[in-house]
Symmetry: C2
Subunit: 480 residues, 2 copies
């Protein structure tokens, strides 16, 4: 029988906090009848966000095309939806049940290219688009392709989305963490990037790629065009590719802020040297179609032979699921003015985005009013990365612990906090150590996806819990 020590040590080391032990405990509590508020993961439809009708109507018709031949369908579905389903089947007669080209259905890739052109005013080429099972698979294919040996490193933000650290661990590459600047709205800092790079070089690590998440996960920050231009110049100077994770591009709430893509900044700077990989997904934005696992990867400034290797990599898993490809198509080509379904689309889209904006504000104001808690009100994405204070740990003053021991205790402390929060209130969040945080600070990531009433309740529970927990900690500390 296979034993644990016969498994790949890289798998054993990989950690994915968003679905880690605290979430498993939450599932156990739920099974014994406790109410859990899942704020651990950006999974909108699990928290009652409704799917957009046009997406589901088209996919429903494509799954059972007999409906298209049924006279009653015309009464039940908007005319443009029926036409859209027919037109998809004309372009792609195999429907949802056949493997597609490994790179993705050609007309979907064409629609993605047109979407990028429309969004950014830049040229885009369908042959540089690969359709993927969600953005995660796109990120993993880039990491797999660029790692030649264990000392090759990816620069990843701290705090980061743990997909990156987990995949690097699993595939055997090096992580070069760079801190985001919490004091400057979590933007990237050239000084910090350079220091991280130098530290990595001193350890014999060869950086190959810089990962940027914009809007930020878990920070909720939106990067300015100037900050992006700085990053591009940094990558050019140090011969790095850029992986731009832009899955939250529709989720920008802060007044005056606007999503600007790396592709647009590249175009504006006439950047033709740095290789750019951009990711997008149907899971976030106003669609929130996480279960459909759809998304795309766009490659810029890559030679044809490199592109061919990326396409070949897709062939090994055959192709992305077809409903996900079609959801991606629908995301990049929503109903247009004049279409029968247009008004519904606009109403549903705006409802989702308005609700997220309001909930971000409620959460931000509410948490900032709790003594010992602070967050930057999220400008975008679906998350808040909340900083909280804890009383000095019993062992800290005059401690003889070394750095590693201190770190272990700190990690246990934010995890212990989140676990107690779950046990006492049913609120499930992810400890900051799962994303990375400045030494000596404590954070947790929460989404602001639950319904508005629950967010308000959540803020109240959090306040009561935090006071209780810190008082208890002080008492224990004095007792010890």
């Amino acid at each position: 029988m296979i034993t644990i020590d016969q498994l790949n040590p890289r798998l054993r080391s990989a950690e994915y906090a968003v679905r880690g032990p605290i979430v498993q405990r939450a599932q156990e509590l739920e099974e014994i009848g406790r109410k859990v508020i899942y704020c651990n993961i950006g999974n909108p439809q699990a928290l009652k966000q409704r799917p957009l009708s046009y997406v589901r109507q088209v996919i429903s018709l494509l799954e059972y095309p007999d409906l298209l031949g049924d006279p009653a369908t015309a009464d039940r579905f908007p005319a443009d939806i029926v036409e859209r389903a027919k037109s998809i089947l004309k372009h792609h007669p195999h429907g949802t049940g056949a493997y597609t080209q490994s790179q993705g259905i050609p007309f979907v890739r064409q629609a993605v290219a047109e979407f990028i052109s429309r969004r950014d005013g830049v040229p885009a080429d369908k042959d540089h688009i690969i359709l993927t099972d969600g953005a995660s698979k796109g990120a993993q294919s880039i990491i797999m392709a660029l790692l030649r040996e264990p000392r090759d490193g990816f620069m990843i933000p701290i705090p980061q989305y743990p997909l990156y650290s987990a995949t690097l661990t699993l595939y055997g590459g090096a992580q070069i963490g760079y801190f985001l600047d919490e004091k400057h709205r979590w933007q990237l800092s050239e000084r910090i990037l350079t220091e991280s790079l130098n530290r990595a070089a001193a350890q014999g690590i060869r950086p190959v790629c810089l990962v940027v998440i914009n809007p930020g996960n878990p920070t909720g920050a939106v990067l300015t065009p100037e900050n992006i231009a700085m990053v591009v110049a940094f990558a050019r100077k140090h011969h790095l590719a850029i992986l731009a994770d832009e899955v939250y591009q529709e989720n920008v709430y802060a007044r005056g802020m606007k999503f600007v893509s790396f592709a647009k900044v590249f175009h504006d700077l006439h950047e033709s040297q740095v290789t750019l990989f951009s990711l997008h997904s149907v899971s976030k934005g106003y669609l929130g179609e996480c279960g459909h696992r759809g998304g795309y990867l766009e490659l810029r400034n890559v030679p044809d032979d490199v592109l061919a290797q990326f396409v070949k990599q897709q062939t090994i898993s055959l192709c992305a699921n077809v409903d996900g490809q079609l959801a991606t198509y629908l995301m990049v080509s929503p109903p247009r003015p004049g279409d029968e379904s247009y008004e519904t689309f606009v109403r549903e889209r705006d409802d989702v985005l308005r609700s997220l904006k309001i909930k971000a504000e409620i959460l931000g104001r509410g948490i900032n009013a709790i003594p010992g808690m602070h967050l930057e009100v999220p400008e975008g994405a679906m998350y808040a990365f909340v900083r909280f204070d804890l009383p000095p740990s019993p062992a800290s003053p005059g401690s003889v612990m070394n750095d590693d021991e201190q770190r272990a205790v700190r990690m246990e402390r934010d995890e212990a906090y989140c676990l107690a929060l779950l046990e006492e209130t049913g609120i499930c969040v992810v400890p900051g150590s799962g994303f990375g945080q400045e030494p000596g600070t404590f954070h947790f990531r929460t989404t602001f996806l639950p319904p508005r009433e629950e967010i308000e309740e959540l803020v109240g529970s959090l306040r009561a819990f935090h006071l209780r927990y810190t008082n208890r900690a002080v008492a224990e500390s004095m007792g010890s």
Copy 2:
């Protein structure tokens, strides 16, 4: 800009013949208006196989649950289908748009466990089932989990399905090929297995797992229970895990043959030591739902800590697509006698399987009647692995080529043959070198999925082409 030599050398080496250069050429020919018969890949619905109604009806309703509230739905869908969709939503209210548990939706895993118990008369546990995006992802997760270092090896059949060789190359493990015995209906031979193992050990390779594909791809062979029992004993003796790729389990056509699972043989032998990984998929069988990317992995004889590592590995990609999970649920729990949809289900299922059986026979008889061509009439799966003779190559007699050069020429020769076949007839098949073949033999793999008329036409074109091609080769050889 990233250059080709900055890419992972393992990616550059990986080859996946089923979607290789010949298929790319076929796509080019199709784009300039030539008719191509795609026999390269088991993609039934691209070759006009109709999806089963019950699968699509349920998924269609789940994609747009508003239909469930519509009185007209009762007129249009069988009563049990509407009930089924409602019951799924009751068990899984998040529907198709939310991430699920990483391991897969619990009630679907429960249904899979019950399916295995019913099929084999053995106990099965939902917590030992992982739902995957097609069987390919299941296979890749096993390979990733069991490779500790480059000298760890997987025993894979020759000929094999190139997913295994490509993934081993990509993840950096060793391939230990073992020939299937063409003279004995492509069964496994203990002698050949032992020789392969010894050869690998002599090269310093440490075998960790034995891959068996049953029914066979590309061979179309169905293993007997005795042959499987031999394999289990071999694995026990040599401390190997078994990966049983059983995605063609519903595709058994030969009179008197029956699919027997590894799980059943394990149970009958009271095998409690060898670790077994079994794969199944919605892509094959009578569903043919390749585009939905659904399937499962069952683990037997694994300790809990090993199971936990497999589950953790799933978390890194969040979860399999939900429609694929639901298609898997529908595959393992089809309509039952008494259900309104039962008769349609039986008729559609039997039509698909009967048609495949007839086409396998037409192809088998037709090809065996071509001088210089031979195949075992497929007992199962969707493929025939056809052996064909070529005249001695110009360089062969009195050649001074070494083994490697000979091999290169041979590989070129079967590829050249398949390319000429494509160019002259539009028939797209995969050269035997993509799967592996005994040195000095030539094969190609073809599916028997095209409609019956096309299969008959295909046999005729193949006969004319083969005579033309071999005559030409003889003439060239004499001229040289």
